[in-house]
């Protein structure tokens, strides 16, 4: 492949993981320039380099060039091979930061994904373990990825971490199913998990009680599990948090999560997460805001057929626009938004024609 002109060029550090994931799926080389070039500490951060290493280990034939200052990365993707890998995550970012992008790649691999991640298991900005297990994996299931699991072997709260999780994706599919979801599904139950590591188990119960008080009003079944970790498997730092998931009969779900800091009151955290869940439900149609990128990317790489997904006008935010622009610059696909006219909501149907992506390793086998 002759160089220079053949890159898709991006600028800035935003959407870093997504751009690399899209490049890997499309097989197109990308160049990311000006990564924090105006900041005091220019260039890639530790966790981003670590993510590039992870990407290198689950693909075959990838070439990554990082400039001397670390402000430019050129990535030429290979094919996704998967396999058994162990990845040590730097303590600045939790395992969720690394697991989440793997969900985009894992089903389209040559071999099954079985990756052990070591490091922190929670943070304020990234996906927690339950968010992935109960929030993201159901979305994958809707697209035909049925056998995937995230096993928590050890929990490790920030800052010292010491956790260990095992991501297993056993279904290997040629492409995701075409999605047709034109309704807002009805929520049948709410469940959740409140966990703690190296703190008194009463914290967990206090969070659960506070969340239940808020959720009592909605009048559906609420079931929150206490998950207290002790001893060897509870990592090196004290920590606690809660994840709530609203489930529908159709298999869609909405979730909210939060972790506690030193000085936080457990009742407050439980309360806030419960309200966040209500807010997320009010802003969602079929998927919640944090599931939307995964769902849309799966739709883009689907069969050459029109997929439809109902979204609300609240979900059209800056993140979505950035996502759609990045999808367009790599796949050349545009999303068509059609207002829903058969009921009195201001929802849209996002209509996407799949690019007809096929799992390269499937074709050979």
């Amino acid at each position: 492949m002759s160089s220079r002109g053949s890159y898709v060029v991006f600028s800035g550090s935003q959407n870093f993981r997504l751009r690399l994931v899209l490049a890997t799926l499309s097989g197109k080389a990308i160049k990311i320039e000006k990564i924090r070039s105006n900041e005091l500490n220019p260039g890639l951060k530790d966790h981003e380099v670590s993510f590039l290493r992870l990407l290198e280990s689950v693909t075959n034939g990838s070439a990554i060039e990082i400039s001397y200052t670390g402000t430019t990365v050129i990535y030429r993707p290979g094919i996704i091979v998967g396999g058994s890998v162990t990845h040590n995550c730097p303590n600045g970012k939790p395992v969720g930061y690394f697991v989440e992008p793997m969900l985009y790649l894992a089903p389209f691999s040559k071999k099954k994904f079985s990756i052990i991640f070591r490091g922190c298991t929670a943070s304020h900005d990234d996906a927690g373990l339950e968010a992935i297990k109960w929030g993201m994996m159901p979305v994958m299931e809707k697209f035909g990825v049925r056998e995937c699991a995230l096993h928590t072997l050890k929990r490790g709260s920030p800052p010292l971490g010491g956790g260990e999780v095992h991501l297993v994706v056993d279904s290997l599919i040629a492409q995701p199913l075409t999605m047709h979801e034109l309704e807002r599904p009805t929520i049948s139950s709410i469940r959740g998990v409140a966990y703690s590591t190296r703190v008194s188990p009463s914290m967990v119960n206090r969070m659960i009680d506070a969340a239940k008080v808020v959720l009592k009003k909605v009048g559906c079944e609420v079931n929150i599990t206490a998950d207290v970790w002790r001893g060897e498997n509870s990592g090196k730092s004290p920590g606690w948090g809660i994840t709530l998931v609203a489930e529908t009969k159709k298999g869609w779900c909405y979730f909210a999560e939060k972790i506690g800091d030193a000085g936080d009151v457990p009742e407050d955290i439980g309360n806030v997460v419960a309200y966040h869940l209500l807010e997320e439900i009010s802003k969602s149609a079929a998927v919640s805001r944090d599931q939307l990128p995964l769902a849309l990317v799966y739709m883009v790489i689907g069969k050459e057929d029109i997929g439809r997904l109902r979204i609300t006008s609240n979900q059209i935010d800056e993140k979505l626009i950035n996502l759609l622009r990045d999808i367009k610059s790599i796949f050349g696909t545009e999303v068509f938004l059609k207002p829903v006219d058969y009921d009195n909501t201001d929802d849209f149907i996002a209509t996407i024609k799949g690019v007809g992506f096929t799992n390269t390793s499937k074709k050979i086998a």
Partner: protein, 110 residues
């Protein structure tokens, strides 16, 4: 007068999304009709579009430094403060139809 016309203009979000010369933040503001931030920029769209190549660099820099909300690197979505949310959900009428079995009984008691 010019400003008023623009104010009334209904933007098609489907097109706005793919107008690369408009920053995502502006897209949302124009679409929702919240042009309070910079009236001048809104009324001089022609001019602005001509200048956009010039300004693009600045916009991207803004995105990088303090516009963290548009960045998918951050997984957790944006939420209003808890006080606003408590107020918003003091009654659940807005999302009542999303749950199986109407919670009317519970509402009456409260």
């Amino acid at each position: 007068l010019n400003g008023k016309i623009n104010h009334r203009r209904k933007w098609d979000i489907g097109k706005l999304i793919y107008m690369d010369n408009i920053s995502p933040k502006d897209c949302i503001q124009r679409w929702k009709g919240e042009d309070a931030s910079d009236e001048a920029a809104e009324s001089d769209i022609e001019e602005e579009e001509a200048e956009d190549n010039f300004f693009q660099k600045r916009d991207q820099n803004n995105d990088k430094t303090h516009n963290y909300e548009g960045d998918l690197e951050k997984f957790v979505p944006y939420f209003e403060t808890i006080e606003k949310l408590v107020q918003k959900f003091s009654n659940l009428d807005a999302i009542k139809d999303r749950f199986l079995g109407a919670p009317s009984l519970g509402d009456d008691q409260n």
